[in-house]
Symmetry: C2
Subunit: 256 residues, 2 copies
Amino acid sequence: MISKSTIKLIKSLAVKKFRLKENLFLVEGDKNVIEVLNSSYSVDKLFATNLFLENYSKICKKANFIFEVENTDIKNASLLKTPQSCLAICTLPPHSNPPKQLENNLSIFLDDIQDPGNLGTIIRICDWFNIEHLFCSPNTVDMYNPKVIQASMGSFCRIQTTTATFECVEEIAHLSNALIFGAFLDGKNIYKENLPQKAILVMGNEGNGIQKEIEKKISNKIQIPEFSVKDKGAESLNVSVATAIICSEFKRQIFL
Amino acid sequence: MISKSTIKLIKSLAVKKFRLKENLFLVEGDKNVIEVLNSSYSVDKLFATNLFLENYSKICKKANFIFEVENTDIKNASLLKTPQSCLAICTLPPHSNPPKQLENNLSIFLDDIQDPGNLGTIIRICDWFNIEHLFCSPNTVDMYNPKVIQASMGSFCRIQTTTATFECVEEIAHLSNALIFGAFLDGKNIYKENLPQKAILVMGNEGNGIQKEIEKKISNKIQIPEFSVKDKGAESLNVSVATAIICSEFKRQIFL
C-alpha cells in the first residue's frame, strides 16, 4: 500500500510550486521509470509491482527506497488515466546555467510553449536529432511537469532544458557566431534555403506564434511550405510537428 | 440551458457505438465549429454563446437548430477540460468507399493507430501537405472520436479517412501503379532515397509498429535517420511526428 500522505505528495507534484517546495518530481510509465533509473537522476522512492522489480532487479537497486506495491496501489496514486506498473519520485537536479558558447550544431529556443504534451514531444525530437541545447523562455511550461515527462518517453533523461530569455540566447548566439532562425507562416521556404549546421531555431507559442518583440530581432525567417490548394488547407501545423520537420531539414542538409 | 437528455446525448457521442446508433458526432472548440459550419457537413444543433452567435452570425445560420446558451451550459455539456464558446452536433456523413485509382500524389495507410490525438494530428498534417487519401485500417481509432476532431483543428472537414484493409490498399496501389513505402526503424535513409510523387506510405501502431504480416508485403522500407550518438538517443519518434517528417521529405523532393 502507498500511504495517504505519499499519495498526497505524489498528486501535489503535478504543480510546479510543490515540485520546487519539495525539490522533487514525478516519473510515471514503465519506459520513463526504466530510463530514469538508468540515468544520472537521483531516484528517491520507487513504487513498483513485484513483476517490475523482478524484471528490472539490477537497475531498481539504484533507487534510495524501494516499495513493492500492487497495481491497484499505483492506480490510486497515479496521475495517468492508464497507469502502468511503477512510479518514481525523483530529486530535482540543480538549476543549470545556459552555456556560454555553442558547438557546431543546432539548438532550439521555445518562446512560451504552453502545452506539456508539445514540450515533451519536442524533448523527444531533440533527443532523436541530437539537438545541442533546448532553451525555454521563462513562460514556457516546466520540463518537470509530469505530462512533459510522460510525453518525452524517457528523452528527458538525456535532454536538459535551460530557462533563458531571448536576450540571453541572442547573446550566446552572438558569442558563438550562430545564426538565429525563426519559424513563421510567411518566412522563406526551408527546402530552398541553405541551412547552416550551427544555428538557433526559434519556435513560437501554440496560439500566437513568436512574440512581435522577438520577431523584430530575427533576420532569418523560414517556413514549411503548404501544399494544399490556396486558402483551403490547414492554417498551421502543431508546433511539435513543425519543430520536427524543420529539425529534419536542418539535419538532412548535413548529408549534402 | 441545455437539457439533461441533450447533455446525456452529447456525452454519449464520445463512444463510437452511440455515434453510429444516433448517426451523429460532436464538434467542439471554436475553430473546429467554425470550420464545420463552413463545410459540407450537416450541423444539426449548434449551442453557442451570444458573442459567438453575433461574431459568426452568417455561418451560424447553416445549423438546423441554434441554441443561445451561457458559457456554464457549454461547460456542463462539454467533454473538454477547457471548453470554449460553442459546441455542435453534426450528422455522420455516408460511408465513403475507397477510391479505385489514385492520382499522381502521396496517400497514407495507418496500421492500427490507437491514440486519437495522433490521428487528429495526422489529419492536420494531411491537410497541410495535400495528401490525397488517408486510409485507416479497421482497428484504427475512429475519425469521429471527439478527441480526433479536436486535435485535427478543423482539418477533418477537408480530409476524409477511408476505412480499408491493407489488402484493399495493396490492390488500389497495384491498379494505380503506386509504390508502397513503409516506415521502419531499420529502413533506408529517406534523405538518400528518390521518393516518387505517387506512393502510399504505411505508418504503424504506436507501440508495435507495422504488423509483421503487412511488413512482409512492403518492399520499400524507409527510415528517418537518428542523429544522436549510437544507443544513446530516443528509441523512436511519435507516429504523428514521424508521419510529418516523411510527408515533408516526399513533398520536398517535388522541388528538385
